[in-house]
Amino acid sequence: MVKFGIEFVPKEPYWKIVFYAIQAERGGFNNLWITDHFNNRNVYVTLTTAAIYTNKITVGPGVTNPYMVNPVFTAQALVTLNELAPGRVVLGIGAGDKTTLASVGVEMRKPLSAVREAVSIFRNMVRGENVAFEGKVFQVAGAKFFFKPKGEIPVYIGAQGPKMLALAGKIGDGVLINACHPDDVEYAVNCVKNGVQEIGKQFSELDVAAYTSFSVHEDLKKAMKAAVSVVAFIVAGSPSQVLERHDIDLKKAEEIREALKANDWGRAFGAVSQGMIEAFSVCGTPDMCIERINQLLKSGISQFVVGSPIGPKVKAAITLIREKIIPSFTT
C-alpha cells in the first residue's frame, strides 16, 4: 500500500507547521518532511517541535545536504531526535542546491562522493562507532559520541540526475525522487533500479518516493494558481534537456529565469504555461490528483510526497487529501 508523505518549508513559524503536522498525522499521512535551507527557519528545531506534538508520523529532514551541515552534526541531531521520537526518525539527504550553496560561498564539490561519504559517516556515527574516514570530500580523524545512540535511522537519498538516482538505489534505504510527471518518475525509478541491480539488492527493499510539487482544490483554476509560483522556480532551475522533454519553450523558460532574477514576480508567474504546470506539479481537483498519483504508482513508487504549495489554503488542502485522496489508496 502506498504511503503518503507531506513536506513543509519552515519559512512559516514553527507553530503553523506543527499545526499542519498534527492535522496531517490525523489525516493518515505517514511521513513528515521538513526542508533544510539556511535562509528558512531551522529544520531540526522544527522537526523536534513537530515530534513533540505528534505520536506516530515519521519525521525527517527532506532534504539536508552534507556541504552546509557536516554529516557528524546531522547524525548528532537525528540520534537525539530519535530519543525523543524513537523509531520514527529518518534522514533525507541530497547534494543540495548549487545556487543556495553558492550564496554562502560553499562549492558543490564532487556531489556523488559527498553524498556517498556523508551517508557512510552518518551511519557509522549512528551505530556509535569511532569514525575515522579518509574520503574525497570528507576527512574525519576520529569522531565518536560521548553517549550511546539508540535505534536505527533509515537514510533516504534525494536525487534527480541518473547517477545520483543509481547511487541512491545502491546505498539508500529510500529514495526521494524530485519529479512529478509520470515519464520523469518512470525514468528515475529505472535509474534507481540500475543501482539496485548493480549490488544485487531487491528494489522492493527500498521505499521510493515521488517528491512532488502538489496543489489540490475543488476548483481547478484555484489549484493551478497556487502552483504557479512553485512551478516558475522549478522551470527556472531545470536544465534544457528536461524542459525539451516536456516540449517547454526554452525562450519562455529563459524569460521566467530572468524575471525571477529581477524579482519581477508578475512577469515570471505570468509566463508559466499550463504545460509547465502539468510537467512540474501534481495539480488539480481531487479526482485529477488521484488519477496522476495512480499513473505515478505504475512506475513502482511506494511513497507519494505532497510538497509545496499543497493547495491554495494548506489546512483546507490537507482536509481534501484526507477525505478524498488518501481513502482511494487505502480502501
Partner: protein, 99 residues
Amino acid sequence: MSYPKLAELIPREKRKNTADKLVDLILKSKNDDKMPSDLANIILRRWQQNLLTSEHGLSVLLKAAVLLEHEKTLSVLRELQLDELADKFEGKHKWLSLE
C-alpha cells in the same frame, strides 16, 4: 471579562464552526510575529488533544485571533452571528485590557 468567560458566550452548536474560522484566520494571518510562543504552544496542545472546540480551546483561539487580526476577528464573529461576543471586542484596542 476574561477570555474563558467570553468563550462561554459561544453556543455549543456554533463551537465547531467558530473554532474552524478562528483557526483559519490565525493560520492565514501575516501578523504571525505577534503570536506569543506560550499561546501558540497552548493552541497546539489543545489541537493535539482535539480540544480546540472546548471552552478553553475557544478561549485561546479567541485570544490569538484578536491579537493577530483584531478587525477580521470581529467580522468573523459577526458573520457567525455572535454579536454579543463581538461587542465585547468593539472599540479601539479594547481587547488589550482583556486577560
